[in-house]
């Protein structure tokens, strides 16, 4: 018999966690939109809309200090952040297109160099995924092999029921442990029917075929056709649950400062600019090609995974209407 939880009890559960110092990150209304943000109370949870920014921030914040220094009377002190102080975190209400990115990101952040900043946050986080029941014409998770109820990346999973409650299942040891601690707030079974899942309209892409085409078309007129219009901003990459490029910059004064790691994007002209002023990616077509190649070829070559979950955020956000699903469709039909 599956466990179920009412929305009131879910809120109570989150309140209980917040009270003991757990950082609870979930969709909440922030200004004019929904964002994944730390919740001050369970009632702030807002599960209706897909958050504008992805859930990667729970592990890979937009900006973090990775070192700080101070200089007093000629003596310089350098200190590392104390990662043991990172709070245990619950990421709640994350859509499958967001949770699916976590195992994909794990591959690169624990590859030749172990990125302790990412990995420490990831280890301390329990992911409570949420089945997706709303989509728009930018959504295409199903075209990439994902699904509105895909469990990838989740430790626990919530599926909405028609009476406003949810089934709650544990998928990992972390999830089981969590469920055990919440048993007083759960019920067994429910007569309510599941809310119908979202059904993105795009038919599945043949990712092997797309990769095959990319393997042989580093040089192709397609790149200019698509990306001559590209404005060269970072909206697509910054909203993407899987884009993970970052820059490291020292900021501060002579007397004190920090070394900061923050999001970067391959659409920026300065992303590949050399100190010599040579730029190997000398226009938006070459930069956009990298975006597609990285997602559907290079990452596949290296890790056997695709760096796109079909969340559609880049499609919605692109100021000049570049639509990655349309690009994939075009390649798929070549």
């Amino acid at each position: 018999m599956p466990k179920t939880i009412t929305i009131q009890n879910l809120h109570a559960l989150l309140d209980r966690l917040i009270a003991v110092g757990t950082r609870v990150v979930g969709p909440r209304e922030s200004g004019s939109m929904t964002l994944y943000e730390p919740l001050a109370s369970g009632a702030e949870l807002s599960l209706r809309d897909l958050p504008r920014r992805s859930a990667k921030e729970a592990f890979f914040p937009i900006c973090e200090s990775i070192l700080s220094y101070s200089r007093v009377a000629g003596k310089t002190t350098v200190s590392d952040p104390d990662l043991s102080q990172l709070p245990p975190t619950l990421l709640v209400g994350a859509r499958p297109c967001d949770t699916a990115a976590a195992p994909v990101l794990d591959a690169v952040f624990s590859w030749d160099y172990k990125d302790e900043f990412y990995l420490e946050r990831r280890n301390r986080t329990t992911v409570l995924g949420l089945a997706c029941t709303r989509c728009d014409d930018a959504c295409f998770c199903t075209a990439l092999g994902g699904a509105p109820d895909a469990r990838a990346g989740s430790d626990l999973f919530l599926s909405p029921l028609s009476d406003g409650s949810f089934t709650l299942e544990a998928l990992t040891e972390k999830g089981e442990e969590f469920l055990g601690a919440a048993s007083d707030l759960l019920r067994s079974g429910s007569a309510a029917a599941p809310v119908p899942l979202a059904a993105p309209a795009l038919p599945p892409f043949d990712l092997a075929k797309i990769k095959g085409w990319l393997d042989g078309h580093f040089e192709d007129p397609l790149w200019a056709e698509i990306a001559e219009r590209c404005a060269g901003c970072g909206a697509c990459a910054f909203l993407c649950p899987a884009c993970h490029c970052f820059d490291i910059v020292d900021e501060g004064s002579e007397s004190k400062g920090e070394r900061r790691k923050y999001w970067d994007a391959c659409g920026f002209s300065k992303f590949t600019l050399h100190a010599s002023t040579h730029n190997p990616r000398d226009g938006q077509p070459a930069r956009y090609r990298n975006r597609i190649m990285h997602k559907f070829k290079y990452y596949d070559d290296k890790f056997g995974q695709t760096l796109c979950t079909g969340c559609g955020r880049c499609v919605r956000a692109c100021p000049v209407g570049i639509d990655i699903a349309a690009v994939l469709d075009e390649i798929n039909n070549k």
Binding site: M33, R52, A231, G234, R260, Y262, D323
Partner: protein
């Protein structure tokens, strides 16, 4: 949720403009007047449109004009898009608001008037960024800037395409919001902007879509020494947006592309409008649809207000 809104104008007028535009573009390309036309084509998603550069008469048949044609295409005539200009002479589709930017670029010697064929579009208005583009253009979903537009029929263009139907009066939402902010106390206003700037992710879409942000070396990219903190933190974000507004004062043409491109919905055009208001009060300057020899902040007149010199 998807209840149909009352159309602002008969939606067929966009079809008429589209037909006129396709014919004009095909002719310019066929007779060799231009090498390419910078215009809009439909996107995959229902009701969407995106910029496109077309160079054959057959491609000209894909051009459209609709309320989704929000982009200011003069962006593609700037030095940041050199590869497009390298094709030869260009024609460009411009709405009245876009034309002001084009005139500004000509004023700033970024472009020669005779280098470009201006296809002016009679425009009832475009969608607000958050609008459902499957709905007809309505009083509810029209962009803020269009509510108080004074250039719906662009003048001084090479060809004027389409006709402007009569429009019902629209409330000035942006002017009202600016007035509301002006009435706040400084700490309240600071709180308003801090809330917005704290959500900024520094994707720089505001800069990248701005026709006037054509600097090859942007202050905010400098790191030796750093001009503005590049890291997406509230202090640097605030500095960036203030620097941006200041640098565009007296240049911004009010196309509001920065605001419509912002994925975090920061109401950037309010800053631009505030600057425009100051420029009008101090120098009697307003951006127009004709090139001007000098901008208000690039010229000096002994009669200029000097009261700030203490």
């Amino acid at each position: 949720m998807n209840q149909t809104m009352t159309p602002l104008v008969d939606p067929r007028i966009w079809d008429e403009t589209t037909a006129a535009l396709r014919a004009a573009a095909a002719k310019l390309l066929t007779d060799g007047t231009v090498a390419a036309v910078v215009g809009y084509v439909a996107g995959r998603r229902s009701g969407s449109a995106m910029p496109a550069i077309v160079s054959t008469a057959a491609e000209a048949e894909t051009l459209i004009f609709s309320p989704s044609c929000t982009n200011n295409l003069s962006l593609y005539l700037t030095r940041s898009k050199k590869s497009i200009g390298a094709r030869g002479k260009l024609a460009v589709m411009v709405k009245g608001c876009d034309l002001r930017a084009l005139a500004g670029l000509i004023s700033e010697n970024q472009l020669q008037r005779d280098q470009v064929v201006i296809l002016g579009l009679a425009c009832p208005g475009v969608y607000a960024a958050a609008a459902d583009r499957r709905q007809p253009l309505s009083a509810e979903n029209i962009a803020g800037k269009c509510r108080e537009c004074s250039v719906r029929t662009p003048e001084n263009v090479d060809q004027l395409l389409g006709r402007l139907p009569e429009l019902p009066p629209l409330e000035d939402s942006e002017a009202a919001e600016l007035a509301r902010l002006e009435a706040l106390t400084p700490p309240e206003r600071w709180g308003f902007w801090n809330g917005h700037f704290s959500r900024c992710i520094r994707c720089l879409a505001c800069r990248q879509v701005c026709p006037f942000c054509f600097c090859e070396q942007c202050l905010c990219d400098r790191n030796r020494p750093q001009g503005v903190e590049g890291s997406p933190r509230p202090a640097g974000n605030t500095a960036w947006h203030i620097v941006r507004a200041m640098h565009l004062a007296g240049r911004c043409a009010g196309c509001a592309e920065c605001e419509s491109a912002c994925p975090m919905e920061i109401p950037l055009n309010l800053l631009n409008r505030k600057m425009a208001q100051e420029l009008k009060e101090l120098y009697g300057y307003e951006s127009g649809t004709e090139a001007q020899e000098k901008g208000p902040l690039t010229s000096y007149d002994e009669k200029d207000d000097q009261s700030f010199i203490k």
